[in-house]
Symmetry: C2
Subunit: 361 residues, 2 copies
Amino acid sequence: MQSLLVVGTGLIGTSIGLALQGQRRVLLADVDDEALGAAVDRGAGQRWDGRTDVDLAVVAVPPLLTAGALQDLQRREVSASLTHVASCQSRVQHDLELLETDLSNVCGGHPLAGREVAGPAGATARLFVGRPWVACPSPETAADVLTQVTDLAVACGADPTVMSPEAHDRAVALSSHLPQVTASALAARLLESDTAAVRVSGPGLQDTTRVAASDPDLWTDVLSANAGHVAPLAALLADDLRRVADALSVLARTPDDGAALGVVRDVLSRGNAGRALVPVKRGVRDRDVAVVAVRVPDQPGRLADLLVRAAAAGVNVEDVRVEHLAGHQTGVVELLVRADQRTDLLSALRAGGLEVLGELS
Amino acid sequence: MQSLLVVGTGLIGTSIGLALQGQRRVLLADVDDEALGAAVDRGAGQRWDGRTDVDLAVVAVPPLLTAGALQDLQRREVSASLTHVASCQSRVQHDLELLETDLSNVCGGHPLAGREVAGPAGATARLFVGRPWVACPSPETAADVLTQVTDLAVACGADPTVMSPEAHDRAVALSSHLPQVTASALAARLLESDTAAVRVSGPGLQDTTRVAASDPDLWTDVLSANAGHVAPLAALLADDLRRVADALSVLARTPDDGAALGVVRDVLSRGNAGRALVPVKRGVRDRDVAVVAVRVPDQPGRLADLLVRAAAAGVNVEDVRVEHLAGHQTGVVELLVRADQRTDLLSALRAGGLEVLGELS
């Protein structure tokens, strides 16, 4: 079995260890002994003794610390192949050149996965499943090191792809870094309002601000490391919003101003077209599943009762969504099942006297 | 049984009809006979004959057509009480005043619910469950008409609240209309890129752009009807993004510029604080809940077993998220509970020999 050293047992490093259990011998290191202990407890691997050689070392520390950690591993001759998971590749590449590191045994990598919950506690073996994992070789990278990175991606369940550091950084500036800036700036607006706005909010506010919960220190590093690519995009977005703001100012005075209506409609229409390019949820297609909604009293055990009935009918519930307000007498539970088990589930629920509210497809 | 006329069988109108089945006699009308037929087929109510009196009429047409439709119903003396569901209340109020409508029997209303799937096909009886439904009386509105609107909200499973049209419009400008503009402008940026960006995207892009799929014509109406409130918010957001863009331009040249780093960190930190105000799930905020992750075999009944254990310990599971891939042998279940029930839940799960993967908070 090949061996792997993970340096940095945060969300990504610990998740890599978890994903590779049974496939690689995983050793773990972190300057923060508490984080390291948590990752070992989670079963992500064993503590590295600081000496043992490995086949591949993965540096999973914040982007501005990545090059230094790679250089340190090179000096200690721990591994013939090195990779990292930094969300900005050119900056790491540049730092490595400044440090006069041997570039032939380093190949950058970036798994496009994450959650707002940081650290080993948020880690999961499934974090990378179906996600892109971009391998970013430099011109000096040896081919076999690149292969090790794409093999690592596959072993974690990800879809490997290869880009230059420059192309990668340009792509994630738009697909990841600009959305982060936008969500943060939007959520920041809520601080300057009374409480009415969040009280009368719908699911749109929830979705658009979700990533604003991300770690500010980590993201300050990420954004400044990729500043050259993110800056012009943020400027263009600011210009677009300024144009919409100006058009709305006109419409506030002249509700039927054709040019102003055109500006507003144009951004909404282009938004429609842009959104159509975004891949939907990984793996599962809508048509393969059925959703059944049931009203249940909001009491301990009622959700369990529902699932016991489903299980008794041989139905495997793929996902559960509970929608209710704390303190309310009833909630709504949506059960997601394979489409061909829908009829069995409905029969079981109705036989149990449960109120089925509707079926979505 | 009280009777209700719904004029406009789109997503909202049809969902109201579905929600009230068994509680009200629902009659339906729409200028588009195909939409009306679809709503009747869905079981949302019966076709209105154009004459029959009702106890309450609900106008559920686009905001700029709402006042005209209300005036038409008043002239035909169809109902002693009238409401509507427009997402902009002041504009409708203003239009009604221009039309010299009798304002005493009209009370505006706005259910904060929706989906990207428009029309009767997207309708569901549960659309309003647990959602805010803002009743917006004018100074002339008779008290019993207001009561009819809050009764309607309750009958649909929503939480009625009362605001002036002005306060409502100011609140939704921030909680709904600004997020729409932002998501659309962000998604529109994708059109000007090569395909690499969307190919290497993660869940952040998916969430931040979801509402950009909304109907551009409907939203042009909504935004222009509430332009006076949305314009200054969009301008402030544009200014914030411009400031971040400028700071990032500095960082592209001078990576350790303290002032520029401060600007970037500030927007991320304020975004964190703003996001903490957003209800996670209809009224529950992040800090009030704990999330416990457990590994379970992907077999019928195992999820039920988990919830039975939680219930036996007196823990009310607020939400459940199941994460697994079809075909995998195990999945991870995240249980969301009130923060003060976390310890009880952990004890119960561990006593049952279940593998707790980590606690998120």
